[in-house]
């Protein structure tokens, strides 16, 4: 499935007047109808990048293309982007209907046509009975739907969403995450979505761009971001993961990673060579408890349990192997005492070496 490139960002950089460098040489292509999520910790530049694409910030260098047309000189009001803000930024003095109609009125559309269009949006967003209310009379979820209806009314070329779920409480957030994802897919509109919440990113994105300190660390599908992080930052930022310092060594049948307490076969296709110092990563779900009886079949280590915390559906175990601490999960049935020696099997196929 190769789709036409819709938005192309080339060498974008942004330096704020006070000298802070917010974006550094950003390159990114977004396909028509794709949902791209910009994910990163606060202050990583993701919102600045989104605002630059939308025309709310001026870039310091580089180009932004919408279908091969450079848009940097196009003022924000003519860029035809639908921007959904974190707190929705609904106009407090206008009713829901007036909020949605605002962009159409500015376009001098005929009254009858405006009201027809607004009606259909109200229906689509299930807001019909709230049409005459002021924004402050609505719940968070309803406000969000008004914000989306308001930008959809102008039939934007691109939808830009800046942390649209962050202002909501946890329960509603989980529900809307699914609903919003479905809606975006149904609309088929090209969308860029900024969040710091990886669950949100995973469930909504076609692709995720992980950002840190003003640069994009990796752009990939959610699955690949999780299973094959390309940088230490991505490995560490996405999900929970064990990190152990190691060294590449060559053994009898190929390259190995020496972790001190065990040598594991190096992942196939690694560019590391014997003698390289590396960080080895393994996710907790790739470590499995195999009982306390002696068993020397492949990639099994012994570790001393240091903490065992009840989490409801499982236990979180922290154990010491050699000089390293590793953590993993064990099912409810398994009883592990602190200080006890346990045997775990490491799934070497899932090992990540960076």
């Amino acid at each position: 499935m190769t789709r036409k490139t819709h938005i192309s960002i080339k060498h974008i950089s942004k330096v704020f007047p006070d000298g802070t460098r917010a974006l550094h040489d950003i390159n990114l292509d977004i396909a028509e109808g794709e949902i791209l999520v910009l994910l990163g910790p606060s202050g990583c530049g993701k919102s600045t990048l989104l605002r630059t694409i939308g025309g709310l910030e001026q870039k310091s260098g580089g180009d932004i293309y919408f279908y091969n047309k450079e848009v940097s000189q196009v003022p924000v009001e003519d860029r035809n982007v639908g921007f959904v803000f974190q707190n929705y930024a609904l106009f407090p003095t206008m009713t829901v209907r007036e909020n949605i109609a605002f962009g159409l009125k500015l376009r001098k559309m005929a009254k009858a046509e405006i009201s027809r269009k607004v009606d259909s949006l109200l229906e689509m967003m299930e807001l019909v009975e709230h049409a005459e209310k002021k924004p402050r009379q609505l719940s968070g979820g309803q406000q969000q739907r008004v914000a989306i209806a308001r930008v959809l009314a102008i039939e934007p070329e691109v939808l830009l969403l800046d942390e649209p779920l962050t202002a909501l409480d946890a329960k509603l957030k989980e529900y809307l995450r699914i609903e919003l994802g479905q809606m975006l897919r149904k609309l088929g509109i090209t969308a860029i979505y900024v969040t710091h919440d990886q669950l949100e990113a995973m469930s909504i994105a076609d692709r995720i761009a992980v950002m840190n300190l003003g640069v994009i660390e990796q752009v990939d599908t959610p699955e690949r971001i999780y299973s094959s992080p390309k940088t230490d930052f991505v490995a560490d930022f996405i999900g929970r993961i064990n990190c152990v310092k190691g060294k590449m060594v060559s053994g009898a049948d190929g390259l190995f990673v020496d972790l001190g307490f065990i040598q594991l076969p190096a992942p196939s296709g690694t560019e590391k060579r014997a003698g390289d110092e590396v960080n080895a990563y393994l996710r907790p779900e790739d470590i499995e408890l195999v009982g306390t009886k002696a068993d020397n079949s492949g990639n099994i280590i012994q570790a001393i349990a240091e903490q065992c915390i009840f989490m409801g559906d499982c236990y979180h175990v922290v154990a010491r192997a050699g000089n390293e601490e590793i953590f993993f999960e064990v099912p409810n049935g398994a009883r592990i005492k602190i200080g006890e020696t346990v045997q775990v099997k490491l799934n070497a196929e899932k090992l990540i070496v960076l």
């Binding site: 009001e77 106009f91 003095t93």
Partner: protein, 268 residues
Amino acid sequence: MRRLANTLFLGPTLLLFGLFFILPMGMLVIFSFQGADGFTLDNYIQILTNPRYSKSLWNSFWLSVVVTAGTLVLSGLIAFFLARTEFKGKNLYMTLITFPASLPGVVVGFMIIVLFGNTGVVPMLTRQITGKAIGSFAYTITGIFFAYLYFMIPKIVMTVHGAVVEFDRRLEEAARTIGANELQALLYVVIPTLAPAFISAAAISFYTSMGAFGTAFTLANQFEILPIIMYTDFTLNFKIGSASAIAILIGVICVTLNMVSRVLLEKE
């Protein structure tokens, strides 16, 4: 003991206000309804029917309207400028332009004499540039208008500045992204959202202008506006009844608009 403490805390204040605020104000009301033969509404009716009073009411009203309009525009501009521009010496600038709010009315009048008097700064400069002195209108209605602007602008800048600073700029950005240019965003989104603060400021400006005395008196003590007419009636014409009625009328306008402005600001 408890009762004694209560009396000690509030008692002297209530005594002071009872004797020197409520009682005199009450007497003022009574005087305003007193004619040669007892109770009368004449003192109030004449404000509307007697040309001397109706004209000064009209003058006061229009002066306050024009001053309020000018103040809102100029203070609004300065408040937005202060809220949205960062520059060196901003604190000093803010201190300087808000300082006139703490000047007494008579000094404000003098500031206008310094600017627009016969040897004022503006005539002095224009004479040097064009050879002819322009702008020596301190002692006219124009002078009074500028004088009222002089003390209203700093006061209203302080009143609306907070609201402008707290205004969520994302509302403006939201308007921009769905197709509004800067002016449209200002007109349709920013100003309506800030309307309560500005209406409240307008109320303050209007009633302060209606009740101001020292400034106008310094510049033109013959000028026919209500406060000056009231003073003349009391001191020169000894018309206690009509002076009291004017004082009560101005007082009622001021207290009412003061309440309006407070309610609006609390809504914010």
